[in-house]
Amino acid sequence: MAIEFSLNIGPVKSKRVESDKLYDTLIIGGGPAGLNAALYAKRKGLQVGILTQKVGGQVLDTKIVENYLGHAKITGEELMKEFEEHVKEYDVPISDEIQVTQIECKEYKEIHTARNETYKAKTVIFATGSIPRMLGVPGEKEYNGKGVSYCAICDGSLYQDGIVMVVGGGNAAIGSAIDLSRIAKKVMIVHRSKFRADQILLDRLNEQENIEIYLGTEIKEIIGQSRMTNVTVLDKNTGQVRSIKVEGIFIEIGHVPKTECLKGLVKLDNKGEIIVDANGETSEPGIFAAGDVANVKYKQIIIAAAEGAKAALSATEYINKGKH
């Protein structure tokens, strides 16, 4: 058995953000956008801190990243560890396990958390990212963790020699299907329309002999008993409905923005994403947004990181103009 190690505890433990201190900018979220915003803000001389549930964000769920310039091939986790270590060099306080419940704009911005703490800042950069989108079909919630999974790298190894299904047509879905094809006996990939993944991934997908592809196919229901056993699908080309026996279903159909704590504070678009201008400003002065939570169309690590930098520079300008 090949044994690998994924050490990701940094040697230096970050200080935590203090609740009685006024910061220039507090960043909510610890993914690429939040970490890069912290780096840029700190280098501009701002008092900055990060409040996050977990450092690393959804990149942690990506097995291999091949499109971050300067890294031909790196695991999502290693990339995020590099980001984190880089930020740590600048002594930025980072509080993890923080769930923000509300942001209030008073004299300063007040950030309230689930543990009833309040943090204060002149500006806030909202970089909370997104969570996996659910299919919204009957049985999906019921069998979550009982065959339904949103994390192929976490749960894939539980399906050795099994038959699994992947739903989705983007890079995440295709990448998961390829990874799973090395573990499972058979992988079926189901997508309601055409694939939109990178051609280089689709070429690799087609090389795998144990992957079956079903395009123009919709998931209707997930059924089972103590755990899931079957998926009901509709072939939109023929109108035929059938039940397919699978042990697990991996849902990779994109993400929905995490904005619940904003509660009408800033304007959102019809997808629920925060509307930002070209400089990362939201509709509320002093509140900036970056990364997958914002209405920047392409959701990529390098874009999220760059948007984080922009938001930090905008926040700096806002503070220097004395607008707070």
Binding site: M1, R115, G145, S157, S226
Partner: protein
């Protein structure tokens, strides 16, 4: 050939500088029918060799001590403090892959150098007055799993009524099937309360308080 590469060893050594007191690491193995015992032994030996505060003892599952520690499956790793106090912290299966992180955190915790929690959380943990058994099912490729394991172990460390075990789902197929594990981390508290995912400490405490 060494199992842990030199670069990782260097990093782990730096992390082990945080260790405060001695930790007595007990590895329970079985001579036959234990596919991963020998790898686990190599791994734990290499880890404990990295700092003199880590003292390893390897025993067979038939040993009386294994029974006293309540070990039911092999390989198992139990972390005892310098006075051989058992906090109910166990790892069933090799804590390699991502789980090396929770193993290191466990060692630091039992050495007395764990992260200090806010006062109100400490008060909630100290109030637990009934027996609580936490099983955290994991896979070695799961980035969210070490967080869940470390939190369960921290609860065990802080309250004698709490026992917490990491269980590697692929090594212990039978028990994983019994608990219907098909997504990790899966947290099972006192047999029938289940949590999915790397839950915050608050969620653990809410479940425990609701027992």
């Amino acid at each position: 050939m060494a199992m842990i590469d030199d670069n990782s060893k260097k990093q782990i050594k730096t992390l082990f500088e945080q260790l405060k007191e001695q930790v007595n690491v007990v590895l329970v193995v079985k001579e036959e029918e234990c596919e991963t015992c020998s790898d686990t032994k190599t791994f734990v030996t290499e880890m404990t060799d990295l700092n003199e505060k880590l003292v390893l003892e390897v025993i067979d599952v038939s040993d009386e001590k294994a029974k006293t520690l309540g070990v039911t499956m092999t390989p198992a790793i139990i972390l005892l403090d310098k006075d051989n106090k058992d906090y109910g912290i166990k790892f069933y299966g090799i804590p390699a892959g991502h789980e090396i992180n929770s193993f290191i955190m466990g060692l630091i915790e039992v050495s007395g150098a764990g992260e200090v929690l806010p006062d109100d959380v400490i008060a909630r943990i100290e109030k637990i007055d009934k027996p609580v058994d936490i099983k955290v099912f994991i896979t070695l490729s799961c980035p969210h799993c070490p967080g869940a394991v470390a939190k369960a172990h921290k609860l065990a460390f802080m309250n004698k009524n709490v026992n917490a075990q990491m269980i590697e789902a692929n090594t212990f197929n039978e028990i994983s099937t019994k608990y219907n594990v098909s997504g990790v981390p899966k947290i099972v508290i006192n047999e029938d309360t289940e949590l999915l995912g790397d839950q915050p400490l608050d969620a653990f405490l809410n479940s425990i308080e609701g027992l």
